[in-house]
Symmetry: D2
Subunit: 291 residues, 4 copies
């Protein structure tokens, strides 16, 4: 397929490379030029701006947050005037409220739109093993399914209303940061009782927590190494804030989420913005005076 | 081996049956007679009291809490006078502080003692697939390893100090109840946004949370069925309280734990003591006014 | 003095009436016409729009939130072109970040600006007994001091940077809602132990909590009457959100604030938006199952 | 009146001195001899042990916690055999559950018993200005009212069931520590925004928080001096724990209380056990990275 790709960050780049490897033709654009060059060497065409990338059968956007997407897609007027057949597949994690605004924006301009946020860290993206949560008109998803197949191990279809996919994504990320905080507090608990966290995690990540979030983030806590980050504190806090905002908008108390936010805020206060989210262990250890 | 077994509750009974199935000879005792009869039919000998079960190469205890163990083992004077070669293997979840007291109590009476709490629900016990966290003198653990092999898929050795195994167990259970609360809050969040929790959990229990606690407890939340319970609210609250007590004893703040306790307390206030811990979803839904 | 007055809500109206009573000449404007008529009968002149009220020696604004102020003052272009001598005295509770933006906006247009949020409920405003927290250039505050004297019992000067007054105001309001939540939880605690909350509050509002927030809000909890509201749930939540936002902007964990927000969110979910903030007692009672 | 007095700590000593000053005859006892000597010089008789102090028309106990009271009153068998006319007035802060046990214990031994915990710090006790919360048989309270009049400014009668007074006392202390935490967090919030906490507290302790807990504890936070302590961190944590235990016993979630406990636990972890409770400000400042 002929595909545009906007946003070549830590997730976007390996996803785009998977598409190239699967034989799709890409026209890519990124705010900073570095990643574009790498994609060019892998066979992609470089677009002069976001508008020129918005062409072909589909255009995938993988930008960092609501604001970036708003600036480029809405304020930047990248949508072709008079409608288009290019399907916009937004795979970034955005707020449900902005997701609704975005869906309406595309509908009003005669531009097909699909939401398809993903679960999986960059190495998972590089392996084409993402889990893709897609929502939008079924025929649109059918048409971009070959792209999903190149990037993911499985596509979950969540109905016709795009924002539903975003709701699921932020709820899932909320569960991830809650798990990280639980591990962080458990780290302090066992450490304060003279048991190395490595002993705890060797057991519980075998059973019952034999799944990636526990296995991955506990490793950072055991090593007490938080760089390079796979999920930055600043990014985790941003995603958590999306969950808290969505909760507040729907009058849903999210007490666990707020506790976790405090820990992230405290981590930021310690200058750990760019550390991996597993650095919450340091916050917990310091609170307990066993750091 | 010739083994005593004290405590035939929802966990003890399937564990004892596994030992019989592996060819060990059991002398069992339980406070209420019902489960003893079932064990007798499976080939076990019935002891007249706990003291008579404290014989053979090892005696396993699987009682409900610190108080039950204290009443039977310490107040009940079950340890043979003048020392014994029978290894006491305590597999129940008890507090680290009581674990230390118990270890000292046995040492003072010349009675060998091993702590070996387990991870796994009753069906896992019935399948002999428990994860066993053992701590105590290495030669003692070597001697009872055939028993562990009959009950568990893996034994984790955590050193010579028995209470270390209990610290790991309560930290692990803390992580489990935190995961349940996270799922409960996520349930309310997506429900309030019009997305059925079943849609969320179908995705996230495949990836990234492809592990038993998420798969098991989310099923109850999706079905909104909390009976029969695999992990009762009252029991989960008791285990969480062990973690909170251990945290306070070591001056470790455990903010997530306290938030989760509030939810369990609220569940109890709703008359859900005997419901499964997944009933925290109902607490979260009611708070959000979307129950 | 000749004074403009924009915003005649539950606080603005009694404040404006105090100014009239003290002999000042008022030109007032309000979005809805009702309150203007009442002021007209008391001797005020009615402005055709906000811009016409922005005249004289000073103009006081008492609008409901950042958005209302932004719409009228910034988007509405009420500031006279080419600068003005009219001192804008903003007495509303706004966010510190918007306070800074507003100060810069006025400075850029040659318009003098003072921040002067207040402590005190409507009856206190009606009695001219507010506490006024003023920040801005000292000579500007000197000039509007006669207005403050007509509305308040005391003016606190917090320096030249206007946003400092707003920081103090939102921190104070945070303390108020925290006190309300503490009373609400205490209500549930004593009620569950068979002690009428009236008995608790009779004692503690005499000593040690012999001050208005405790005396006032506990009365609502004792009577279990939450209408009419003196401090609406929706307004309290908005003010609390200002504190949480300001906290997050400065990387300050505010765990108490987040707990209190959950209670307000839960109150909103119960349809109590327009109830008095003391209705948090109902949230606490329901959580405890003793409502 | 002829009065026994057991427990001459920071509260007991000034209370006993007030009784002497009012002309009552005292026989005092304390675990450590130092305070007894001071009382002797002021005119009191010294008892050889607690049992000898349990004589006369009334005996007042002012011990540090449940355990101390249990050891002396129950285990120490201080109650005269065969009943007594001496009214035991327990003025210490104890748990409602122990209060009930104590009332039953006295009733079973034919010993009259009144609960009368107090609000007020040591200087208030020294001035005879305590607020006394009394519960027990009305005629008993009538008989000891002259003692209350010597020690307090007001006696609040809470009915015939002694534990009710203890419930009110711990709920009141819960409100106090919640206020301290709110001030601590507000301290961090304004400090992080460049506003000295002194500026905040000058305003809000004048209005609306014109009452002792705010005025007293904020002074420590402003000065950042936490020694000598008027309400030690360790003692505040103990009192808070009584509230949390009472809450849990009655299935009452107390989310604010748990947040505050975390802060106290963190303060203990920083070696601040003996500091004043206002040291929570240091915990909040450190969390915010503005300490």
């Amino acid at each position: 397929m002929q595909v545009g790709f906007i946003g070549l960050g830590t997730m976007g780049k390996p996803m785009a490379l998977r598409l190239l490897a699967a034989g799709h033709r890409l026209r890519v654009w990124n705010r900073s030029p570095g990643p574009m060059e790498e994609l060019r060497r892998a066979g992609a065409e470089i677009a002069a701006n976001a508008r020129e990338a918005y062409r072909g059968e589909a255009v995938i956007s993988m930008l960092s947050d609501d604001a970036a997407l708003r600036q480029i897609v809405i304020d930047g007027e990248v949508l072709p005037k008079g409608g288009t057949a290019t399907i916009h597949v937004n795979m970034a994690t955005i707020s449900p409220s902005f997701a609704k605004e975005l869906a309406a924006f595309h509908a009003a301009r005669g531009a097909p739109y699909v939401a398809a946020p993903v679960f999986g860290l960059p190495p998972v993206a590089a392996a084409g093993r993402l889990n893709i949560v897609a929502a939008g008109a079924a025929d649109l998803i059918d048409r971009v399914q070959p792209l999903f197949d190149a990037m993911g191990q499985k596509t979950w279809r969540l109905g016709a209303e795009p924002s539903r996919a975003n709701v699921v994504k932020i709820a899932g990320n909320f569960m991830i940061v809650a798990a990280i905080e639980a591990m962080a507090e458990a780290t302090a608990l066992v450490q304060a009782h003279g048991v190395p966290p490595a002993d705890l995690f060797a057991v519980v990540t075998h059973a019952p927590f034999s799944c990636p979030p526990y296995q991955h983030y506990s490793a950072g806590m055991v090593a007490r190494r938080y760089e390079p980050a796979s999920f930055k504190v600043s990014l985790a806090l941003k995603d958590l804030q999306l969950a808290l905002d969505a909760a507040q908008a729907a009058h849903v108390p999210l007490p666990l989420g707020e506790i976790v936010r405090d820990s992230f805020v405290e981590a930021v206060g310690q200058g750990r913005d760019a550390h991996d989210a597993s650095a919450l262990a340091e916050v917990a250890l310091r609170r307990a005076g066993v750091g």
